[in-house]
Symmetry: C2
Subunit: 199 residues, 2 copies
């Protein structure tokens, strides 16, 4: 398998983290992405949005969208609950991650730390910060009294939400008011097989 | 089952359309949503984002996020491909729908036709129109020479992409330059069991 990969992208880190847990071998093609804004001609025909991560299977078939890639790699493993309701709840949080979490927390991280454009960051800071706080509030509320987002074990929902939440400080978010979120981040990082984003 | 439902929301229409295809009985609770901006205290604890659609199962367990709801209802039916790669491709287009398609095409439809705020529409029109055209371009490119988004039959990917694409004109989009998209819309609407958004 070949992963079109940006080392700093949290969306790519989701895939690398799962591959590490599963012990699967893969090669990478470096894409000089400044995170999510990157679009590449080399990904034309491989990804509808020409973004990383994009996975190309051994037989050449492509798969795009970080959360669909981890689904493909994770189906049938311990990271996808066997119970249909828990599995749907896992997907609920994965869709929520792409709609409510990533567009605020990942984008603000990109603008603040990687874009090299403080004017872009300033222009969007207030709006995206409010959205990001709402997302963190929803996570904190859900994690009170729970160890994992769906089911009784760590699942793909935890992996995909970890990717940008653990780097939220790079977007100017302070996790101090979120004790349940911080405990959950430690829990994910303590799982055997875990690798950091810069591994 | 009880569906917290807004009649004009395309995200709710996805669920109603699948339920019609599957012939499953359900009750609705009307939520006076002006589409996606709606957040309701009654949905607190049922949906991380307090948006419609939210489904409450017979035993009281809630499920939110339109694409996770259709997954739950559709798993094991003809609308989810049996082949793992086709299933992951279906999810790829469903994640893409929530990240690239809905935030442009559904939001512009809401602003233009339902918000009652022409000033909001004008402020976002140019930006969202460009994003929406990119999404329609990606659909047209993929559908050339294909009948369905993933696998050999209509799947959940077609159902969720149909919801806002078929109403794109309400957001100011002209589908004339997209013959493959228009043929696909007709194909979806011709399936036995299809119901319109205002059924």
């Amino acid at each position: 398998m070949r992963l079109y990969n940006s080392p700093i992208s949290g969306n790519c880190y989701k895939v690398r983290l799962l591959l590490a847990h599963l012990g699967l071998p893969y090669e990478t093609s470096f894409v000089d992405a400044v995170d999510r804004t990157q679009k590449r001609d080399e990904l034309d025909g491989l990804s509808p949005s020409r973004r990383v991560p994009t996975l190309v299977l051994d037989d050449g078939r492509p798969l795009a969208e970080s959360n669909a890639i981890v689904w493909y790699l994770g189906e049938g493993t311990r990271f996808v609950p066997g119970d249909p309701y828990a599995r749907a709840q896992m997907l609920q949080w994965m869709f929520w991650e792409q709609y409510d979490h990533e567009p605020a927390i990942a984008v603000l991280r990109f603008l603040k730390t990687y874009s090299g454009r403080p004017d872009w960051y300033e222009a969007q800071r207030e709006h995206l910060y409010k959205r990001g706080v709402k997302a963190l509030d929803a996570m904190e509320q859900h994690l009170k009294g729970r160890d994992w987002f769906a089911g009784d074990e760590m699942s793909l929902a935890d992996i995909v939400l970890y990717a940008y939440t653990h780097a939220a400080d790079e977007g100017g978010f302070d996790l101090e008011p979120y004790p349940a979120v911080r405990a959950w981040l430690s829990r994910v990082a303590a799982e055997p097989g875990h690798v950091p984003i810069d591994a």
